[in-house]
């Protein structure tokens, strides 16, 4: 089934896409130069004027923006239109403790919601579907973005927001929701709650889930798909660039199409800033070329991923990004080794444990310690102490070969690790350095 929201755009030829990008980039650079003194100064420091940017081929010349710039310029320093033309702000979830505020005109919101509508159509959504949005509503972009996209597709939208999990399940069943949108950790929790209510995949009418806003593994995807009897799709976005829908998965489930008519993606070496060739892993950088209120150029996402333009069976021509391995912010450096929480998750699920875990990093006698706390599950419990210890040992070995690092595994009682209705708190870093 091939289904699009804006077919001519989503399946446009690469030449057409390039032509759109060239034209829009040139216009956007002029808009920013004229209206954002903060960025103009950065361009001037590099000896650049808008005339130096004639096409996407000149993109590499432009200065980067980082989260630090957004903090420096808070709140209005990167605003490119009069405040009276703005109709909305959204703010980042502050998972890394640094809140930023982004502004939107009505046209910017339309762009964002179009992108979300494309994501819903890509998982098979039509106006006949009932779409339950269990992302948080409010400053967080998850709820408002998917809500708007769902309206554009014409789905009956159930704006449950997050929380009150048994009520979520009641609405899914009573109102026959077919598409669920939330964070993957909340989806896993809804699945767990279903199980404890004695409900299986056949007891709910859902057929697809759109899960994003945090890194999650393939193993977690399979887990959610089995528990709920659905297809689980990834969606990617960030408030700085618009919100969810910057990129989304299609029926292939093998990477997310970036909406290239609105956002130009580059991969750079996070250390040198040098642009890397297609297929190389590096930091994802976005330039927003159609938004007017908060038009960031070359914004460093800190997400580590790769891009591919190989043709996709879904017919979309837009570049695909792989599931980010993790945000460079999420990366822990433990005894000098880079560790992503998603790697630990992969090992846990491969060993039959649930995706509820917490990573506690501490420093004892000047040496880092890594303690992975995992909840005991009915499937993993036996009356035999030796057998449980053996499985625990196997997990320690699995972690060692994945991370190249010795970790301690602590088995804890069920439901003792806090459940998250939004983004999960996976890491507690107690190190005082």
């Amino acid at each position: 089934m091939k289904q699009y929201y804006q077919k001519e755009i989503e399946t446009a030829s690469r030449e057409q896409l390039k032509a759109w990008q060239d034209e829009r980039l040139v216009r956007q650079v002029r808009h920013v130069w004229d209206n954002v003194p903060y960025y103009r100064k950065k361009m001037e420091e590099k000896g650049l004027t808008p005339e130096d940017i004639k096409s996407t081929g000149d993109l590499y010349k432009l200065p980067f923006l980082s989260k630090a710039d957004l903090r420096d310029a808070y709140p209005y320093g990167l605003l490119a239109v009069p405040l009276e033309d703005c109709v909305r702000i959204q703010s980042t979830s502050g998972t890394t403790g640094k809140r930023v505020v982004a502004f939107y005109t009505q046209a910017d919101i339309d762009i964002w919601e179009d992108c979300c509508a494309r994501a819903i159509c890509a998982v098979g959504g039509t106006k006949k579907d009932v779409c339950q949005v269990s992302y948080g509503y409010g400053l967080f972009t998850g709820g408002p973005g998917l809500n708007g996209g769902s309206h554009k597709v014409g789905c009956l939208t159930i704006p449950t927001s997050s929380g009150n999990t048994e009520r979520q399940i009641m609405f899914i069943r009573d109102l026959s929701a077919t598409i669920l949108c939330c964070t993957p950790s909340y989806a896993a929790y809804i699945g767990e709650t279903m199980k404890s209510m004695g409900l299986g995949p056949d007891d709910i009418p859902l057929k697809a889930g759109i899960f994003g806003a945090e890194a999650w593994s393939e193993e977690m995807r399979r887990d959610i798909e089995t528990t709920m009897g659905i297809k689980a799709y990834d969606i990617y976005g960030l408030t700085e660039i618009s919100g969810p829908g910057v990129a989304f998965e299609c029926s292939e489930q093998s990477g997310m199409h970036i909406n290239e008519d609105h956002f130009i993606a580059e991969i750079i070496d996070p250390d040198t800033g040098e642009v890397l060739p297609e297929g190389t892993q590096g930091e994802l950088v976005f330039s927003s070329i159609t938004k007017s209120a908060f038009p960031l150029l070359r914004y460093r996402t800190r997400d580590i991923t790769t891009l591919t333009r190989k043709p996709c069976s879904c017919g979309r021509t837009h570049v695909k990004m792989t599931k980010p391995r993790g945000r460079t912010d999420d990366m822990l450096i433990i005894r000098g080794v880079n560790v992503f929480p998603s790697q630990i998750e992969t090992v846990l699920l491969n060993h039959g444990y649930a995706a509820n875990y917490q990573i506690i990093v501490d420093r004892v006698h000047n040496s880092d310690t890594l303690d992975v706390q995992v909840e005991m599950t009915p499937e993993m419990f036996t009356d035999n102490l030796g057998e449980i210890s053996q499985r625990q040992e196997a997990l320690v070995d699995g972690l060692r070969s994945m991370l190249g690092l010795a970790a301690k595994v602590t088995l804890v009682e069920p439901k003792t690790i806090a459940r998250s209705e939004g983004k999960a708190v996976r890491v507690i870093d107690k190190r005082k350095i």
Partner: protein, 144 residues
Amino acid sequence: MAIKQISVFLENKPGTLLKMTGVLAENKIDMRALSLAETKDFGIVRLIVDDVYTASTVLKDKNFISILTDVVGVLIPDEPGGLDKVLRVLAGANINVEYMYAFLGGRNLNRACMIFRVGDSRAAESALGAKGIKLLSQEEIATF
């Protein structure tokens, strides 16, 4: 004949056992025997109770993980050589004892009950029964 034992997963830290006994007390569950096996981080509490169904249900409701295990309850006269006689029968039948624990007296002071977890409950029961050793049923243990 085998008796159902409830095995519960607990973290090895202050208060966890209390939390579990609290749930049982609240639901008027009478514990007939209890044994603890522990490692540094976690342990397994093994329980014989008067009402297995209610105990399992209320523990599950309170988020404890537990499973039922078949064990053999053997009546032993409280006198020297009582246990020795039983073990001799099991060894003779080549039955391995994984673990065991006792509770003394019950409501009658001159006897003891020994709970055995063995490789093959059925074989143990017939070997012991053949030697005239008294085995206890779930009902008998509830009122022992």
